[in-house]
């Protein structure tokens, strides 16, 4: 049983998805989806323990020997990402039970869970597979279902957002496909380990450089790297609450994992940083994302939009760590993947609570909501502090590692920038907190007098993530150590 874990973690949600369509019953599909998600979470914990104990696991699908058959490879990095994705997916299931029928109506519930499970299995498949073409297939499974999920939003703008994401996402995935095709043209293989072994004989070819460009650009579109982020703000803003939480916590993280996997495990460290010299390019885009998107976030009037732009800025922090090209930098990136998943999911969960009770995400409508929904807004504030990077929260730990890593390379300006950009985060989080707690309600469309605190089934998942933010802000053994090990292993194994 245990030796089949690498494939079971993907199969569990993949099999549960069509069962949901057969079942059709709202509560039944929720139960099925919860069991599948929690099952995947349990497997990911087991896999991580197994990897830390015995090293990399290789699983041959259908006993076809790699590189002919498809191979699933789980090392420290995958296991870590699997844990982040399944943990976020598991935490939001109790939240979904209440929020999904409220936002999508009882009739659409089973379709929602079908798409949700498909999206989850696509993300897990992208993470676990060791085959470049298989990545494309899983990428499209997760993308197609996420377009459908976004279009379920209540506002009609969700449809337009989903359409725009579909066009850009498909262009990204097709660019990735071109890159993989060019790699196959030059090496005759699709297995990542085999690709890495054969690529150094042909790496001076212009075709390999072109393949690198297409693959990085394709993944960059899915990752919402700064100038390619046009789809993200609308998609996050108008998607249903559960979808925003899920995508913000997992989808971009998996794309970043893919980028790291291709940079380090396929093309190799020396090719990426010495031959292509991608470091400065990534640095410039990262800094632009941090500064520009933080500034844009300050001017937004919709809470979900503020958080969406802040997500693009946070991706900038993660890329800044990548651009350093050192073990420390990579560790900071991985740590921020973990911590950012927690804080952003927590913030979007709080937004979901507000939307459930108030029905609006506009700052004007939410003035004084803190007095009506103190627990929700407390959770928002605490996760917001983590986003800013206040000591004793998880956000502080990742900023600390990132600043240390930049100073290790002697990049003083970058370190100063990280600290200054945190002040911008303080401004946009502060804007929401100020409106919620310190402003008088406006007599507008929404009547706040009748608003009550969100129900417990919504509050408990939110507070679980708040406590996770505080816990991992003090106790860094798990997150930082595994991130460090994964970073060392990734750079150590790279050419």
């Amino acid at each position: 049983m245990a030796e089949h874990f690498p494939v079971l973690i993907v199969l569990l949600p993949l099999i549960a998805a069509p069962l949901c369509v057969a079942l059709r019953h709202g509560g039944g599909t929720w139960l099925l989806a919860t069991l599948a998600t929690w099952g995947s979470f349990a497997i990911s914990i087991a896999l991580l323990a197994q990897v830390l104990e015995d090293g990399t696991i290789k699983y041959q699908l259908g006993n076809w020997v790699a590189p002919w058959g498809i191979e699933y490879v789980v090392d420290e990095l995958n296991a870590y990402i699997l844990l982040v994705v399944t943990a976020i997916a598991s935490v939001i299931m109790p939240f979904a039970a209440r929020s999904v029928p409220a936002e999508m109506g009882q009739r659409g519930v089973y379709l929602f869970y079908t798409m949700y499970l498909l999206c989850l299995s696509g993300l897990l498949g992208m993470t676990v597979t060791g085959d470049a073409f298989n990545v494309f297939v899983f990428l499209e499974i997760s993308s197609l279902s996420s377009y459908a999920l976004i279009s379920l939003g209540r506002n009609r703008k969700a449809l337009h957002a989903a359409y725009q994401y579909l066009v850009l996402g498909t262009i990204g995935a097709t660019f990735f496909l071109i890159g993989v095709g060019l790699l196959y043209l030059m090496t005759g293989t699709l297995n990542m380990a085999d690709l890495a072994a054969r690529i150094d004989k042909v790496e001076d070819s212009r075709i390999i450089y072109t393949a690198f460009g297409f693959i990085v650009l394709g993944i960059g579109l899915k990752l919402a790297v700064f100038p390619l982020h046009a789809w993200l703000p609308n998609a996050y803003t108008y998607a249903p609450s559960v979808v925003s939480i899920f995508l913000a916590g997992t989808a971009t993280k998996v794309s970043l994992y893919l980028l790291l996997r291709f940079i380090y495990s396929v093309f190799g460290h020396s090719f990426t940083f010495d031959k292509v010299v991608a470091g400065p390019l990534i640095l410039v885009l990262a800094v632009a994302a941090i500064v520009i998107c933080s500034l844009v976030a300050v001017w937004q009037r919709n809470i979900k939009r503020i958080l969406a732009f802040s997500s693009v800025a946070q991706i900038g922090y993660m890329l800044l760590g990548v651009s350093l090209g050192t073990v420390m930098g990579l560790q900071a990136t991985l740590l921020h993947i973990f911590n950012h998943a927690m804080m952003k999911a927590g913030l979007f969960l709080a937004c979901g609570c507000i939307l459930y009770r108030v029905g609006s995400m506009k700052l004007v409508d939410l003035q004084g909501v803190g007095r009506r929904m103190p627990w929700t807004m407390m959770a928002f504030t605490l996760c917001g502090l983590s986003l800013i990077g206040v000591p004793l929260t998880a956000g502080f730990i990742s900023k600390w590692y990132l600043v240390t890593a930049t100073l290790e390379r002697g990049w003083w300006a970058a370190a100063v920038l990280i600290v200054l950009a945190s002040l911008l985060a303080l401004v946009y989080v502060g804007k929401v907190v100020q409106a919620a707690f310190f402003k008088e309600p406006e007599t507008g469309v929404v009547n706040l007098a009748e608003v009550r605190e969100a129900p417990l089934s919504l509050l408990i998942p939110t507070w679980i993530l708040v406590f996770a933010n505080l816990y991992f802000g003090i106790e860094t053994d798990i997150s930082a150590d595994i991130a460090g090990q994964a970073a060392k292993q990734l750079i150590g194994a790279s050419r």
């Binding site: 377009y147 579909l166 496909l177």
Partner: protein, 119 residues
């Protein structure tokens, strides 16, 4: 020069299709036309994959005991998968356009943007 143009003509076709598809996606305002452009763009990649699997003088890869040269079947199989993905993308895209038409009453992107800005 002749070799560059005629010898690599499959790649020139791929590039022409790819650019035409991308140009349609970027320049058209009509949502259906955008999807058509997207499909042309995807198709160009299918052609790229299939043409790199061709072996000169090779036939269809059917094993019947005789020794013969055959084309590489793997890119064909990969592209079968990619075609399925392309069909699914087109279907989902068209479904979204139908819903957009129901909600907005138009499928011209600038009209939709205008209506989005007003609300």
């Amino acid at each position: 020069m002749v070799d560059l143009i005629l010898g690599l003509y499959n790649y020139w076709i791929v590039i022409a299709l790819m650019m035409a598809g991308l140009y349609i996606v970027i320049s058209r305002q009509n949502l259906i036309k955008k999807l058509i452009g997207l499909n042309i763009f995807q198709t160009s990649v299918f052609v790229l994959y299939i043409s790199i699997g061709k072996v000169f003088g090779g036939t269809a890869p059917i094993l019947d005991g005789t020794d013969r040269i055959y084309s590489n079947p793997l890119p064909h199989v990969l592209i079968l998968t990619a075609i399925v993905v392309g069909v699914a993308t087109a279907a989902l895209g068209l479904a979204l356009v139908v819903r957009i038409k129901e909600e907005y009453g138009t499928i011209e992107e600038d009209d939709i943007n205008q209506m989005d800005d007003e609300s």
